[in-house]
Symmetry: C2
Subunit: 415 residues, 2 copies
């Protein structure tokens, strides 16, 4: 069972917006045992949208479409679908009322523009939108079933789960593709590729592939089976093999956040952490609190950006700051030790560095970062140089990931 | 001059990775006056990659391709391009040496797998990769010029700027499309659409369209001209008209970060800010320090996640926490006032709320957030309910954006 995903919007083809819907739908389709042949993105113009519909419907059983259902003049998906189907648009009075009710419930009057969202190609079926004004559309186009959903991600997610997923499931029988990604940090893509080369052979089931992003290597596994339990057994066997070979390089499964791995370990051990950040400016605290239930292990974070804050909040002597500089082993150590002591936590992480783009010197270049990790045994500071090829936000992310990974390895007893 | 962008990778068609390269390239192509007909994403298989190449080359003058140039067995872009060109692959010894030098410079031995990155379709030209191991490829396919670049974004960016942009510029003459997006916060898409309806008419130059994401409405403007100054004059006239109609709803141009607008205003006024966060967990501090030069206005941030931290770091009496609860007007006010006083800044922002998914009650549901803004005149707290339809990360983002927008409007004298 094959599908093609079409994203519609000039904001996508001109690059103002990154398309996240196609990736989300692809994951859901993979889970449902539907193979995605390709993603296509076209601008808000009837001719290319129509052509994309027609071509996709001639190649795939399912065509999943997002975007172009809004109330404004550049929303043309319904027109293009009607053109491809060779039919006109019809106003469905009940949907005008539903859209009006949506505004009523929020104490607002329905703008006239929103009436257009109650237009549907003749012979198509509306799909209710439970979280927004734009209804979706289900239609036949040639041999294919087309589902059109809103471009707003959270509206699309709900519509897919409620009205699209069940239809797909009824068509795929038991056949199933299951996927997992193991995320690794601390080694390069080639090095990991050499360790698992035989598993990456073309045509193998499960298939194994790698991707690299910001120092994180994702090892993807896809397993096909005639039944779900068959695919699952194949998937888990390869995952176990990968875990055996890659060990503590792997920090996450299907979750690329190092903070999620740290959170699991902290919760399991009943331990707590606090943070004292300078160049990462709150990013580590933010990552640790992105996780639901973070109050179990995260107590407090200090963003001591100005030197004065380092002295007042962490007691770092002005002489140390003057002598060693704010970006130094000494200050990183003092930050972590004081933070842990004041917060009364088991662990404290500190980061001080030069995120750039300015502020670097020959001796202390942009990208120089010191990371402190304090626990009952004391504090160890590591020095990192992230400057080559990395921009400010990447240096901050890399510093954050490296700090969290140090804590992860400490919790595993691996460093 | 038209282009089609092809992204290659099963990590994309299975949804493990979101394609950000196509959006980045689309922005660059728009600036260069090249129209993007569509984006296509295909898996790591020779047949669909080859077909995408052939179809794109028959429709567009330029085909820009990213991904599938890595050293592992699932990297098949070079094979598919050779197949489309009807030629074989040739090893270029000088590129083996360049790749080896890349590893040498990092004190590592070149893995054997990387040799494959020195294979090129016969008749194509290598493009040097100055920040990674995978060289790019420039080739003719039918009437089209094909540029293949690495999928790793920062490697692709450098290669595009150095070796692709100049080629495109030499072909486009003076014709030019310029784009701008004005970001608005505080009104819905329909409401904004009604205010600017006439500017959104089909066929108008500049074209105006809107998109909505997490409460932010982006108003996109695209202007075409035979020369750059012509396109620029048209663009600026429409931007000025939009600014006149939308006023302080607009917070950013081509930058959707409210923090960037706040940073500009703080720097211009020579003012400083500190933050005291609970449910946003450092996100506001992170956003404020994402901006280069943030030390000019950002002094410190406290992430007082545990109640104990609210008492020790901000002096909030335990009785107030017990009586009113941590999520209350009283605590939000006390946090902002104490934060500003201790940090000695002109402004302080505080946030306390329930990000969920658990912790909500009938009286204080998930999504209830109090935002305090303290300045010389005192402190005002606003109450927000972000729970309906929003997940934890969205509630945190919405709270952060709303807090920063309150500071922005205050700096403008608008609230």
């Amino acid at each position: 069972m094959d599908a093609i995903i079409i994203s519609i919007g000039s904001e996508l083809t001109t690059g103002q917006t990154v398309d996240t819907n196609s990736a989300w739908l692809s994951q859901r389709l993979a889970e449902a045992g539907v193979r995605v042949l390709r993603h296509v993105t076209v601008p808000d113009e009837v001719a290319p949208i129509r052509e994309a519909f027609e071509r996709a419907a001639s190649e795939a059983a399912f065509v999943l479409v997002t975007g172009g259902l809004g109330p404004t003049a550049d929303d043309l998906t319904r027109d293009a679908l009607a053109a491809a189907m060779g039919v006109g648009l019809e106003m469905r009075a009940e949907y005008v009322e539903r859209i009006r009710a949506f505004f009523d419930a929020r104490g607002r009057e329905m703008p006239e523009a929103n009436r257009v969202q109650a237009l549907f190609p003749a012979g198509s079926e509306p799909i209710e939108n439970t979280c927004g004004t734009a209804p979706g559309i289900r239609a036949r186009l040639g041999e294919a079933t087309v589902f059109v959903m809103p471009g707003v991600p959270r509206e699309m997610w709900v519509m897919y789960e409620r009205d699209v997923r069940p239809v797909l499931a009824s068509h795929t029988g038991g056949a199933c593709m299951l996927a997992a990604t193991l995320y690794c940090f601390g080694a390069g893509e080639s090095d990991i590729g050499e360790v698992i080369r035989d598993l990456m052979a073309r045509g193998r089931n499960p298939a194994v592939g790698t991707t690299a992003k910001q120092g994180v290597i994702g090892v993807r596994v896809h397993a096909w089976g005639d039944r779900r339990d068959d695919a699952s057994a194949k998937l888990e066997a390869t995952v176990a093999e990968l875990r055996g070979r890659l060990g503590s390089l792997i920090y996450g499964r299907d979750d690329d956040r190092v903070a999620a791995a740290v959170a699991e370990l902290l919760k399991a051990a009943g331990r707590t952490v606090a943070t004292a950040e300078s160049c990462t400016g709150g990013l580590i605290a933010k990552e640790l609190t992105d996780i639901a239930g973070s109050s179990a292990y995260f107590r407090e974070g200090l963003v001591t950006y100005a030197n004065e804050a380092k002295t007042r909040l962490l007691g770092i002597p002005t002489e140390v700051l003057a002598k060693c500089g704010a970006v130094s082993i000494e200050v990183a150590e003092a930050m972590a030790v004081a933070c842990r002591q004041f917060a009364g936590t088991d662990y404290a992480l500190s980061v001080t560095g030069i995120a750039g783009p300015t502020g670097g010197t020959a001796h202390k270049p942009v990208g120089l970062v010191y990371i402190g990790l304090a626990d009952t045994a004391g504090c160890r500071v590591t020095e990192h140089r992230f400057g080559e090829f990395l921009a400010r936000d990447e240096i901050r992310e890399r510093a954050c990931r490296t700090a969290l990974n140090r804590l992860r390895l400490r919790l595993l007893g691996a460093n």
